[in-house]
């Protein structure tokens, strides 16, 4: 499950963490996903699509939003 796609529903620009509604998961979002610092905060606009790199990690702390489009 290395790369997942989803839609941004909320962004914490202080801690740089995103809340994402992953594709296929209409009822539930995943929150506290770290976001690449290479993405300007201004680009993290809700309803935009994004890519989450899970890195095959069990720990949600290791997931990273790597792209927003």
């Amino acid at each position: 499950m290395a790369l997942l796609r989803g839609t941004l529903t909320a962004f914490d620009s202080v801690n740089y963490k995103a809340t994402v509604r992953l594709d296929g998961s209409a009822p539930q979002t995943v929150n506290n996903i770290k976001t690449s610092r290479a993405i300007p905060a201004a680009e993290m606009v809700t309803t935009r699509r994004l890519i989450v790199d899970t890195g095959e990690a069990s720990s949600a702390d290791e997931w990273v939003v790597t792209a927003v489009y």
Partner: protein, 666 residues
């Protein structure tokens, strides 16, 4: 300790002459819970609206529905597939869109609805002839605001309780009838602070307490929920409310809400609710769920699954001894509780192989009478459960005794003719395969420090319809398994097997999938719980011992700000380095990282085959047991862990009843 078996069985199964007695039964169950193959008996055009269902003591099916402020009733005596379902009688006006409730017990049926003249007043009618006729209405309670949903239930002593909400507020009141007298006013529940709104309620009495399904939204977050809860009556303190157990969840920002719950009890608690999707593609679909066998209503529930029923009014449920009924205003569904079939006398051959990650069985049955081929065995179909209990006629007067029992799921049923003999062949799998087929329909997340690995494992095992458990001494799970609480995310679409494998990866635990998913702790110091080969021990028919290199002999656990390596020198020197790495950021200290790296390497050592032992079937043997094997011919004397458990059974000219044990490292 070893699986306990009787002394007579222990002696008998070691003898040269043995009397196998293998029991095989098929049932339309999942982990002991009866499956409900609903069949739609009626498709009408009645409009959606609040409705209720009750089964009277004479077996009549009584339905009530609120159609835009008119209360209609239907009574079908001796309900069946040929019944007429579209005959309704106009009973009385009522408040449009307000709830309706029915409850039945021998000699009495109660009907509650909201007065058409006052949306704040609940009226009650009584029938003493199983719904054929009704009394005049009596007002039993008037509130300060409009009534929302209604639910009614009797306890075994004839006392009743009416539950009702005030609009969609957080108020849920109970109004008890004790010794025939209704309380003067309703009393609010103690869980108002747990919710932000209530959209529906349903209730039953399970012989001990009142059980409710409730839909609404969670306090603070506003997250939509379908819940189960109970109010004490005969077992728990009277009128005390349990916490709310989530059956279905969504988040407030989604376009999903829940409404119109139903509840029944048939071997387990059965819930229904409407899942309303307001986004694209919009849909109001009934979902159903149930608790595990012997599960509590406010514990864990199976993953809700879609039902054929649609609409906003939900599916009312009622359970009889032989069936479960479900109704909407325009639909009637019937799910018979199919009896199981004892296939023991038909069993010709059975080959079973179980590992910590797989179960495969091939079973051949005599079908000379064509019953199986004709489909006359309702429980011999893909998806049904086979219970395989190998044993011997070793008890008093040849009574059957057995030990280990296997629960298998039918994957395929094939009818065949071979040399003029009609046969049926069943291919079956087990718990891991069921876990592989279950995929999360939505994301789920647990914060760091919230839930232990064991709790997350159990949650998803139950969601997948499995029975999780933990092995006892000497194979009890480790402190890390029950105490480590990682942050954990399950994306939509991930299988239960995959997420369980992630939980298990850095742990010393393995899984025994014989009859559910049993988590087994492993340690190099585990004592043997069985012995083969030496005098007085279980005899060995065949033994092979082998040596092969491990798949991985150098493992790294990459934790948080650290990593730990461990390796086996002897393996590395000869086979060369076979490196593997596992990342787990929840390893937050050096000893934890080192221990987990060692656990990963030890699994390699355990799961590398070292041989195979064939013996007369040993009813006490389970997967992952440690056994002592002694064989003078191969100069074998040592402990091995059973990493593969098999059974070969056949009757006929070449009878066989053997255990096949794949031996791994201890």
């Amino acid at each position: 300790m070893a699986l306990p078996v009787s002394p007579s069985l222990t002696v008998h199964q070691k003898q040269a002459a043995r009397r196998p007695a293998v029991s095989l039964t098929a049932s339309l169950t999942r982990s002991g819970v009866q499956l409900l193959p609903f069949e739609r008996l009626y498709t009408g055009s009645e409009p959606d609206g609040p409705h209720a269902l009750a089964l009277a003591a004479d077996g009549s099916l009584i339905r009530a529905r609120n159609q835009s402020g008119t209360l209609y009733l239907s009574r079908v005596s001796a309900p069946s597939s040929s019944s007429v379902w579209n005959t309704w009688s106009n009973l009385t006006p009522c408040t449009a869109a307000a709830g309706v409730a029915l409850a039945a017990r021998p000699g009495e049926v109660l009907l509650a609805y909201v007065d058409s003249a006052a949306s704040t007043r609940i009226l009650l009618r009584t029938s003493t002839d199983n719904g054929s006729s009704w009394s005049a209405p009596t007002s039993i309670v008037t509130e300060a605001s409009a009534i929302g949903s209604l639910a009614l239930a009797f306890n075994p002593f004839g006392d009743a309780c009416l539950f009702y909400t005030l609009g969609t507020s957080t108020t849920l009141k109970r109004l008890r009838r004790t010794s025939g007298v209704w309380a003067a006013s309703g009393a609010n529940w103690s869980r108002s602070a747990s919710v932000a709104s209530l959209t529906g309620i349903s209730a039953l009495h399970d012989g001990a307490d009142f059980i409710l399904t409730i839909t609404g939204t969670e306090v603070t977050t506003g997250n939509p929920r379908a819940w189960a809860a109970f109010m004490g009556d005969l077992l728990f303190p009277a009128n005390a409310w349990s916490t709310l157990a989530a059956i279905a969840e969504a988040d407030a920002a989604s376009s999903i809400t829940f409404a119109a719950p139903g509840i029944a009890y048939s071997g387990s608690y059965r819930a229904s609710f409407v899942r309303k999707e307001a986004g694209s593609v919009a849909e109001n679909r009934v979902y159903t769920s149930n608790t595990p066998q012997l599960g509590s209503a406010n514990g864990s529930w199976f993953e809700p699954a879609p039902h054929q029923a649609t609409g906003t009014a939900g599916l009312a449920l009622a359970a009889a001894s032989s069936a479960v009924w479900g109704t909407t205003p325009a639909g009637v569904w019937y799910a018979p509780l199919a009896a199981g079939q004892d296939l023991s006398s038909r069993l010709i051959r059975c080959s079973l192989r179980i590992t910590p990650a797989s179960t495969r069985a091939t079973i051949e049955l005599d079908d000379a009478d064509g019953v199986i081929a004709a489909g006359n065995y309702a429980a011999v179909i893909p998806g049904a459960t086979l219970t395989l209990a190998p044993g011997y006629a070793s008890g008093a007067a040849g009574a059957t005794e057995n030990g280990v029992v296997f629960m298998l799921i039918i994957d395929r049923v094939t009818s065949a003719v071979r040399r003029g003999r009609r046969l049926a062949r069943i291919e079956a799998s087990g718990a891991w395969e069921l876990a592989q087929r279950w995929h999360a329909p939505q994301a789920w997340q647990s914060a760091n420090g919230a839930l232990a690995r064991s709790a997350i494992f159990a949650r998803f095992a139950i969601r997948a319809g499995l029975s999780p458990s933990s092995a006892g001494i000497p194979y009890a799970p480790s402190a890390d398994w029950t105490g480590n609480k990682p942050p954990f995310v399950v994306p939509a679409g991930e299988s239960a097997a995959s997420l369980m494998a992630r939980l298990l990866a850095p742990m010393p635990e393995l899984v025994r999938p014989e009859a559910g998913l049993q988590v087994v702790g492993t340690s190099a110091s585990d004592a043997a719980t069985g012995a083969y080969g030496a005098a007085g021990q279980h005899p060995i028919a065949e033994l092979e011992l082998s040596a092969e290199a491990w798949q991985r002999n150098w493992t790294r656990l990459a934790g948080s700000g650290r990593y730990a390596d461990t390796f086996d020198p002897a393996q590395v020197y000869v086979a060369g380095p076979r490196f593997g790495v596992l990342s787990d950021a929840t390893a937050v200290d050096n000893s934890q990282a080192a221990n987990w790296a060692a656990a990963i390497l030890r699994k390699q050592q355990m799961l590398t085959p070292r041989g195979q032992l064939v013996a007369p079937f040993d009813c006490a043997r389970q997967l992952l047991d440690v056994v002592t094997v002694t064989d003078g011919d191969l100069a074998a004397a040592g402990d091995y862990r059973v990493i593969g458990l098999g059974m070969e059974y056949s009757r006929g000219p070449r009878p066989r009843f053997d255990s096949i044990l794949v031996l791994g490292g201890k």
